[in-house]
């Protein structure tokens, strides 16, 4: 028998079952404890500018502190949030927005239209949809304290979605003086108008971040639904406690030292499920899509036959088993690029992913330009998702007769190397693995990975005009039928040319103590309507 770190994790996790009596003495008084929610986030909150840094953990924390003009609800529809109402001219070129009355920033100042204008200007320099709006923008001006106007050269039907979407960067509203910071430089003040204030003095990056209830926040009257509706805070204080070690987080949850853990690893979930004091459920129903990208600029993947050979040999179950183990509720095959169970999901053109055929793959490879050169497969070992996928891919490539140069490295190195367009032997790369949040893959709005506009495309730089034509068709569509038609064609074109290889759809869990109620499933942890009993 071997003793590994993973065995140790399980051992410590199971230990918690013995300690599930709930008798652990809290360090603080019961009343204060009930008003303080202790949360273990997915990763460290290393910076706190949601426009400058677009990591999900920053977006999740920012949603507590900064509010948005619109918010997407659990039906994926944009709803008014800071906005009281909007008008769009008949030709679709002028949008006029009016803010709700009584909105205040955490420093006591009123939220004014000029703050929104400066915030939207900064956001639109960094966000893909914002950049599209800038591309057709005539002007963005404050009309009066509560009204601002966005006039365009060309209609942009997805305006409300752009302002409501939960994909990073979200269009958070900041005071004008902060929003005037260069979009490529970090802000130093964290003043928002959201339901919680950021306690900067208590922030220890890598260890702790604290949010305190904002007494002057005026929630909407509608029930909360994801980023929309009334964001009512039922606790006074939310403490984010960073725990890099999953076994420690599991033990802390079981002993009652923390209340809610955003992303328990699948190894520990069975043990948490057995604890009578803990609830375990799916975190985000929109899940994630695993992927690997091939370099369309360099041999051998500059030949579509080679890319299709790899896709023909790919079995998504192999990848998903490597990621989530034997829990069948956590994954499903996805013969396409869009998130399952969402309105635009399609399998059009997905036959290549439905039946693995090694022999057909070998035949296709033999017909291609591949001459046995090594495929530089760059795999981040410090990310369990990329490591597991990389191991499966290396095996797959060998099975169809390709030579693999497996470069085991860390995510920081992958991040730098994948940007290089050089030949694989000169510091470039052949393929790398990653994954995409399902929330980003419900439509092309924030789905950078599906774009195929050559040099401007995401790493791998696919150049497929048909994909781009269908992305444009989706943006121009004014109804669901039109959107679905465009997405069907887009999916087929992207699979035909293998923009990237989807390795399956997978979900993750969240876990919280039964003293906590109001936890919902969603693309990020929503703290409003969450309460805690001592």
């Amino acid at each position: 028998m071997t003793f590994s770190r993973r065995t140790a994790l399980k051992g410590l996790g199971s230990a918690g079952l013995l300690a599930s009596s709930g008798l652990h003495a809290p360090a603080i008084s019961q009343g204060v404890a009930a008003k303080t929610l202790k949360f273990v986030p997915q990763s460290n909150l290393a910076n706190f500018d949601p426009i400058w840094g677009t990591q999900y953990v920053v977006r999740n924390a920012a949603a507590l502190v900064w509010d948005t003009l619109y918010g997407v609800d659990d039906k994926l529809q944009p709803q008014r949030q800071m906005v009281e109402g909007e008008e769009v001219s008949a030709d679709g070129l002028v949008w006029t927005f009016k803010l709700r009355d009584g909105l205040k920033f955490h420093d006591g100042e009123k939220v004014l239209a000029k703050d929104v204008v400066a915030s939207m200007d900064r956001w639109s320099q960094r966000d893909p949809m914002g950049l599209m709006i800038r591309g057709v923008q005539n002007e963005l001006v404050a009309v009066d304290d509560r009204t601002f106007k966005w006039s365009l050269k060309k209609p942009y039907p997805k305006m409300l979605l752009a302002l409501a979407k939960n994909n990073a960067p979200c269009s958070f509203v900041m005071p004008e003086r902060i929003a005037k910071t260069d979009a490529f430089k970090q802000i130093t003040e964290y003043i928002g108008s959201g339901p919680m204030k950021f306690a900067k003095s208590e922030w220890v990056p890598g260890a702790k971040a604290v949010f305190e209830k904002f007494a002057d926040y005026v929630p909407r009257s509608e029930p909360a639904s994801w980023l929309a509706g009334g964001k009512r805070m039922l606790v006074d204080r939310v403490e984010w406690i960073i725990m890099p070690d999953p076994a420690t987080a599991a033990a802390a949850l079981q002993s009652g030292e923390v209340d809610w853990w955003e992303n328990p690893i699948s190894d520990l979930v069975p043990l948490l499920k057995k604890n009578k004091n803990i609830n375990v459920d799916i975190a985000d129903p929109l899940g994630n899509i695993g992927s690997f990208r091939m370099n369309h600029l360099q041999a051998p993947f500059n030949d579509v036959k080679v890319r299709r050979a790899v896709l023909t040999a790919l079995n998504q179950e192999d990848y998903m088993r490597a990621l989530v183990g034997s829990d069948d509720t956590l994954w499903k095959p996805v013969p396409g690029y869009f998130t399952p169970n969402t309105p635009l999901y399609t399998e059009e053109g997905g036959e290549i992913l439905k039946m693995r055929n090694i022999e057909a793959a070998k035949k296709l490879l033999a017909e291609s330009s591949y001459k046995g050169e090594p495929v530089v497969c760059v795999v981040a070992q410090d990310q369990p998702i990329t490591k597991a996928q990389g191991d499966v891919t290396a095996d797959l490539l060998k099975k169809i007769g390709m030579t693999v140069d497996f470069v085991a490295t860390d995510w920081g190195t992958v991040g730098a190397r994948r940007a290089k367009k050089d030949a694989p032997g000169q510091g470039g790369w052949g393929m790398f693995h990653t994954w995409h949040a399902g929330a980003d893959c419900i439509n092309p709005a924030a789905y950078t990975a599906i774009r195929a506009n050559g040099d401007k495309a995401w790493f791998g730089w696919p150049d497929v005009p048909e994909v781009e034509a269908q992305v444009t068709a989706w943006f121009d569509a004014t109804d669901l039928a039109g959107e679905k038609a465009a997405i069907g064609k887009l999916n087929k074109a992207a699979l035909d040319s293998v923009v990237y290889a989807p390795t399956g759809f997978f979900l993750g869990y969240q876990a919280w103590r039964k003293t906590v109620s109001g936890v919902v499933k969603g693309p990020l942890p929503f703290f409003w309507d969450v309460s805690k009993t001592a």
């Binding site: 300690a19 990591q55 490529f184 890598g206 260890a207």
Partner: protein, 313 residues
């Protein structure tokens, strides 16, 4: 003596300069790019390039090195790329937990290891000696994280005596402070106890074979004063040397221990900074650790004069 101390302190300057140069060069050559981490997956290459330019990462090596060196000379370790906070502030935030952990571990290790080593030397060749040395082998062999998990299992989850994780500043009281440090210190101290116990045994065996010890025993001096007053003091030089050298073990072990017990110390700050390529933080921390290491060894050298009057500087 004072002259020697001053000379040694001055000699740390070129050492630190060499360390600084090596660290800066290695980080410059290492793969990875903080700008791409900051920009996130949706960023275009132009976005990444602009962030890199704003951070000054696109400037030539020498320009960056001399600018950084100038900052260091002024006592400024720079600003973290990610948190936008001064590196000195980050170190200040994190130094208390690490200092507490290493100090408690050091005290615990010395208090346990030295008597064990003395005992093993006194009872050399017996089952007690073999038992202590076997424990030392276990201490060397079992990884810190395994000891940490087992301790957390027993004392935090099963017995519910101590917390699983976290750190409480000493300003909030001695017991809240120490209860968060007991398990991590034992976990971290294992290898250190093993090292000191083995060296103590070895040094004591040499001393116990000396004529003056035989003379002391012949005079009828008791076992305890013979061992702890006459033998241990003369065996102290190698023991203190190993305690000093072992600081590197403690600093390395603190990285793992702080992760296992979620202690917000310098070890975790170092790992986070390396993973994100937060160059100013890495450089600042390595410089600080090097300085501490040099300082500890200076103190060890000075302590020789108190332990052995024959040594003079």
């Amino acid at each position: 003596m004072l002259g020697y101390v001053l000379r040694r302190i001055l000699s740390t300057v070129p050492v630190m300069a060499i360390v600084a140069m090596i660290v800066f060069s290695l980080l410059y050559l290492a793969p990875g790019d903080p700008a791409s981490v900051i920009a996130g997956d949706q960023a275009t290459p132009e976005d990444v390039a602009r962030i890199r330019a704003n951070l000054g990462l696109d400037r030539p090596f020498l320009v960056r090195f001399f600018e950084w060196s100038g900052q260091i000379v002024r006592g400024d370790l720079g600003t973290s790329i990610f948190t936008n906070l001064p590196v000195t502030s980050l170190i200040k935030q994190r130094i208390e937990p690490t200092l507490s952990l290493t100090l408690v571990t050091l005290i615990l290790s010395v208090l346990v290891a030295v008597p064990l080593g003395v005992l093993a030397a006194w009872k050399v060749g017996t089952w007690l000696d073999r038992g202590i040395m076997a424990l030392a082998v276990v201490g060397f062999s079992v990884p810190v994280f395994v000891v940490g998990y087992v301790l957390a299992y027993l004392f935090a989850l099963v017995l519910d005596w101590l917390p699983v994780q976290g750190y409480t500043p000493i300003a909030q009281g001695f017991w809240p402070w120490i209860q968060n440090l007991i398990l991590p210190s034992i976990a971290l101290g294992g290898i250190y106890i093993a090292l000191i116990a083995r060296i103590t045994r070895s040094a004591m065996l040499d001393v116990l074979a000396q004529d003056y010890i035989r003379t002391a025993r012949a005079k009828g001096l008791g076992q305890t004063p013979t061992l702890f007053v006459h033998a241990l003091k003369n065996a102290a030089v190698p023991i203190v040397t190993v305690i000093g050298l072992g600081m590197a073990l403690l600093i390395g072990g603190a990285v793992v221990t702080e992760s296992v017990f979620a202690i917000p110390g310098l070890g975790r700050l170092t790992v986070d900074a390396i993973l994100r390529r937060d160059y100013p933080v890495i450089q600042g921390l390595v410089l600080m650790f090097s300085f501490v290491y040099v300082l500890v060894n200076l103190l060890v050298d000075i302590s020789y004069t108190f332990l052995d009057p024959r040594i003079k500087y």
